[in-house]
């Protein structure tokens, strides 16, 4: 049992260690492949022929509301053909029924579909805050409260929360970690979890001395324990010399040897050995004992010498399978032990058949758990594992509503944990949102993938990769959000702006989809723009506000955003602030977390512990046999206790009383007690000693006997006891 316990403990420790190691989000690259071509989409998009090319230019220019393009002052630009106004996707029915707007009818149908999906999504318990009027919003998400009126219809809880003062940190409103920042007031990088405060290594001199003293003390203690263990093993391996019994102990029966085997594996081995030897009675008993020890070790029963099998079985009533197996085993064994049944190979086999599945269950569970954790650990390191549930935050600042709507449409929504490397073949759309720290090489990978036919939506709360996207974020008087005039079918959409940000376009091939206006409805600035790039397309937003949960439940935002998602993408990968945070491997994650020294010390400590506790996986050994101690040892122990209590005078007093009685019996038989002087004379006459010396010994002894509670001098007391002992020896022996 001890072996099993230790094995379990070691396995558990290894699993914990593995979980710690797997805690870092490692990523492994996936095979490069060309992205699949985009499927037809209803997203409004001008044809490539209508787009005007622009060379990369980092100049800051003004947005021209007349043609919807960024104006860098080049006169030639105005000569370029403008984007054709009106419906860019001509309806096939336009020619057939001029009086009926099929495109608008289709939009209404899609809008109803989005509305239905949104209703389903918001029924999720994660959005209880939408229904809870007592919820609160946290400070980081408070800017979204501009949407409170717009969201009131679908999420009254959010609107109510916005009327209350925000709470610091995680509020009741938020289901997960918020990744939002208060844009315009706080840089995105500041929104990332701040590193834990660095612990100063400076330590005062005394504290350092104490610390190192404790450390060395512990190390010394461990080494001593290990050394003592080895010494014990050496002693145990030596043939034991039977202790010579004390004189007079020959009539005392020696205690019967009664070593109880407690190890399950050894009990099973012993049972098998007994069965092979034909002793099936013993074999069955050992097998059943192994089961008992196993159950005891797992805390299911508590072994006690006064408990019966029936009681153990009743203890297992909460585990019917175990109870049935135990009852069956106990019945077989008891029929042999107490009944007239003869033990045999068949009975032993039946007992083992009952027991082994129970004993094996723990190992199987451990193995399953280990495999499960490994699978989970591996799963967390993959960059593009399919996820059937939203991976983002469910709070107002998260994008879980968008993910859920995509899932409702049949999309496979994934989250990229590792660094952006090769993008899988089946990825249709990538959404980069929130504050991210993508490196230029990663952006290059993404843009290359777009050129091969991928669809990219960029809604960053951090600076845009200007060289890649050829667009920048600019501050703007963004009080109203409207669909660009080039999309009359969307003119009825009701939108609400959140943050005063718009896009500055360097690349004039972008065409606007949404524009933000000032309070007077003038001075439009591009808010959402799109362009074709190679075989793919890119949609850029100045922030992730439009994609947030708070936005998705507001006005017609969900409808518009879902159209920005290029119809119904097969696989959508979300990239956010947590992308690339994970390390390449669990070891790198541990190293990055500066846990290597800690784990090394932990493993070292575990190793020393297991080494110390009896060579867990090594040769099992019986517990030391209990010997009957010699009387001398008891006396020595008692003397040691007296010495420890500094009670030498008490010991002398008691010994003196006893010795004087013996001396009187021997030298003054008949009970004639006439004082110490006659006794001294008798002793002197009998032993030939100096009478004065004997008198002194007797007088001092009697004084010690009468004043045994007085403080004494151990050396003097011991000397006097030895003198008395010598007198006793001279007058007839020590006893």
């Amino acid at each position: 049992m001890r072996l099993t316990r230790r094995f379990t403990a070691l396995c558990f420790a290894l699993i914990v260690a593995w979980l710690v190691l797997a805690g870092g989000r490692g990523s492994s690259g996936v095979a490069f492949a060309a992205p699949q071509l985009a499927e037809p989409t209803l997203t409004p998009k001008p044809s490539l022929e209508g787009a005007r090319g622009h060379s990369a230019d980092s100049r800051r220019v003004q947005y021209d509301p007349d043609d919807g393009y960024y104006d860098d002052g080049d006169e030639d630009d105005d000569k370029l053909p403008s984007v054709p106004p009106g419906n860019i996707y001509p309806s096939p029915y336009d020619d057939e029924e001029p009086g009926y707007d099929y495109q608008r009818e289709m939009e209404r149908s899609r809008k109803r579909k989005v509305e239905g999906d949104l209703g389903k999504v918001l029924k999720d318990d994660h959005y209880d805050y939408c229904r809870d009027l007592e919820s609160r919003v946290e400070a980081g998400e408070y800017p979204l409260c501009k949407l409170k009126e717009a969201a009131k219809a679908r999420c009254p809880g959010f609107a109510a929360a916005c009327d209350k003062p925000p709470v610091e940190g995680k509020g009741s409103l938020v289901g997960g970690d918020s990744k939002r920042t208060t844009r315009g007031e706080k840089k995105p990088e500041e929104a990332k979890p701040t590193p834990p405060p660095k612990v100063s290594s400076d330590m005062s001199g005394a504290a350092a001395v104490v610390f190192w003293a404790l450390l060395f003390g512990l190390a010394a203690l461990l080494l001593f324990s290990v050394a003592r263990n080895f010494r014990r093993e050496d002693i145990a391996e030596k043939p034991e010399q039977p202790e010579k019994p004390d004189e007079g102990d020959e009539f005392v029966p020696r205690a019967k040897r009664s070593i109880v085997e407690t190890d399950v594996d050894r009990l099973l081995a012993r049972a098998r050995a007994a069965a092979q030897a034909g002793n099936f009675d013993q074999a069955m008993s050992d097998a059943h004992a192994a089961l008992l020890r196993y159950l005891d070790g797992n805390g299911l029963i508590e072994l006690h010498h006064s408990r019966t099998n029936g009681e153990y079985a009743r203890h297992l009533r909460e585990h019917p399978e175990l109870q049935a197996a135990f009852r069956a085993s106990a019945r077989e064994v008891e029929a042999v032990q107490f009944g007239a049944s003869q033990s045999g190979a068949e009975g032993f086999r039946r007992v083992m058949g009952r027991i082994l599945p129970v004993l094996g269950r723990a190992a199987a569970l451990l193995l399953c758990f280990s495999l499960l954790t490994q699978v989970m650990a591996c799963g967390s390191s993959g960059p593009s594992k399919p996820k059937s549930t939203p991976s983002a935050d469910y709070g107002p600042g998260g994008v879980s509503v968008l993910q859920s709507l995509l899932i409702e449409r049949g999309s496979d929504v994934r989250h990229l944990d590792g660094k952006v490397g090769e993008i899988a073949e089946d990825v249709h759309t990538i959404v980069v949102h929130g504050p991210t720290d993508l490196e230029s090489s990663e952006w290059s990978s993404i843009m290359a993938w777009v050129r091969r036919g991928g669809r990219l939506v960029v809604a960053l709360d951090s600076d845009l990769p200007e060289t890649q996207l050829k667009a920048v974020r600019i501050g703007a008087s963004c009080d109203q959000l409207k669909v660009a005039a080039t999309y009359p079918n969307y003119s009825a959409e009701k939108l609400t702006a959140v943050t005063p940000e718009a896009l500055g376009l360097i690349d004039k091939s972008y065409w606007p989809i949404l524009e933000c206006h000032d309070a007077g409805g003038a001075n439009p600035q591009p808010y959402a723009v799109a362009k074709d790039l190679g075989l793919g397309s890119v949609v850029v937003l100045p922030s992730s506000d439009l994609l947030t949960n708070a936005s998705m439940v507001s006005d017609d935002h969900a409808h518009v955003v879902m159209d920005l998602m290029f119809g119904t993408p097969s696989v959508v990968v979300f990239i956010d602030t947590w992308t690339g945070v994970g390390e390449e491997s669990p070891f790198a994650a541990v190293g990055h977390g500066k846990l290597n020294p800690f784990l090394l010390q932990l493993f070292l400590l575990m190793g020393v512990l297991f080494w110390w506790k009896g060579r867990h996986f090594a040769k099992p050994q019986d517990p030391p046999e209990a010997h009957r101690r010699a009387f001398r040892e008891h006396v020595e122990a008692l003397g040691a206790q007296y010495a420890k209590a500094r009670a030498s005078r008490m010991a002398l007093g008691m010994y003196a009383g006893w010795a004087l009685e013996r001396l009187r019996e021997r030298c003054q038989p008949g009970g004639n007690r006439r004082g110490l002087l006659p006794l001294a004379a008798a002793i002197a006459a009998r032993t030939g000693r100096d009478e004065r010396d004997v008198t002194r010994i007797l007088v001092e002894s009697e004084s010690a006997r009468d004043a045994y509670t007085a403080p004494g001098e151990p050396t003097e007391d011991l000397k006097l006891m030895r003198e008395l002992e010598a007198l006793l020896a001279d007058t007839g022996g020590m006893r």
Partner: protein, 321 residues
């Protein structure tokens, strides 16, 4: 009859009894086990817990003759055993058997009668016979006394003498039912259950007297390992050296414990006794046989505490502990 049939009959009786006694399967099993072990039962419990109903239902299910004696302070021994009465027509004394001449005798509130009346049952319980005017008459087989007493009331009661107590094989405590059981009792009452009319309930006779006697004889075939005997004597012996016990259990208690253990083994379908059988019935067999020191009683120690402590200390044979 083999032990399998024994067990089947036992379960059938318990199941039938459970139709009228809700939540008292354990009590029923104890009483039935004692009756199969040819022992008498002392049931202790406050009024209204179904003690009398238990005995009446048992007699009904076992098909045994049943008589009830309500013990009162003015009850005379002859009211229990019967006596000789002069028959003027024949000009001689004729023996008029008392209610003890039955198979199942309910001695209701036995501690309300004085000791001399209680003692009238001594011979009947031990030797299953009654002696009147020098003539000994055997009682019918099987003969089972089930006595009840109220532990709360002490006014006008006479505690049973030790000799009388020792003749009861087991003493059973009847406690209040659980809430669920009490709800079931009320439901049965609302559906017209009348404890005075068990026929109306449809309580069936499961065993005949002959079958009951056959079951009693079957117990002789149940094997008792020497280690079980040692376990029994160890437990009983510990009652005699327990610091709180003034007078420990008698050898009759050992025999009773062994017999009930055999009955329990057979009821479980085993032809051998295991330690659990002994331990299960040890409290019932021993609790009324222990006479505690006054100081222990003052400390609140009960006989059940002593037995429980003894069972915690006595090592069970052949365990892995």
């Amino acid at each position: 009859m083999n032990v399998a049939e024994f067990s089947q009959s036992f379960r059938a009786v318990v199941t039938e009894m459970s139709r009228v006694l809700v939540g008292q399967d354990d009590i029923v099993e104890h009483v039935l086990t004692a009756s199969l072990a040819r022992g008498h039962v002392l049931i202790e419990g406050v009024p209204g817990l179904g003690k009398t109903l238990l005995v009446r239902a048992l007699s009904h299910v076992l098909g045994a003759g049943f008589k009830r004696i309500q013990f009162t302070p003015d009850l005379m021994p002859s009211d229990v055993t019967g006596g000789n009465v002069f028959d003027q027509s024949k000009g001689q004394f004729l023996f008029m058997p008392g209610p003890v001449f039955t198979q199942l005798l309910l001695a209701d509130e036995i501690n309300r009668a004085p000791a001399k009346t209680q003692s009238a049952l001594l011979e009947a319980m031990q030797d299953r016979s009654v002696t009147a005017d020098g003539e000994t008459r055997a009682l019918p087989e099987p003969f089972l006394v089930i006595a009840t007493q109220n532990p709360v009331e002490s006014q006008g009661t006479y505690p049973l003498p030790e000799a009388q107590l020792d003749r009861f094989l087991i003493k059973v405590h009847v406690t209040h039912p659980s809430q669920a059981a009490e709800q079931q009792i009320l439901t049965n009452y609302l559906h017209g259950f009348d404890p005075a009319n068990l026929d109306r309930v449809g309580l069936q006779q499961v065993l005949s007297v002959e079958q009951l006697l056959e079951m009693q004889r079957t117990l002789n075939s149940v094997r008792v390992d020497p280690e079980i005997v040692a376990y029994v004597t160890d437990i009983v012996g510990r009652t005699r050296s327990h610091r709180a016990v003034y007078l420990g259990a008698s050898p009759r208690a050992s025999i009773g414990l062994l017999t009930t253990a055999r009955a329990r083994a057979a009821a479980e379908g085993r032809d051998f006794v295991v330690p659990d059988d002994v331990k299960m019935f040890a409290p019932g067999v021993l609790r009324h046989r222990l006479l505690l020191h006054p100081d222990a009683e003052l400390e609140g120690t009960t006989a059940d505490d002593c037995v429980e402590g003894i069972l915690r200390e006595a090592p069970v044979p052949r365990t892995a502990a």
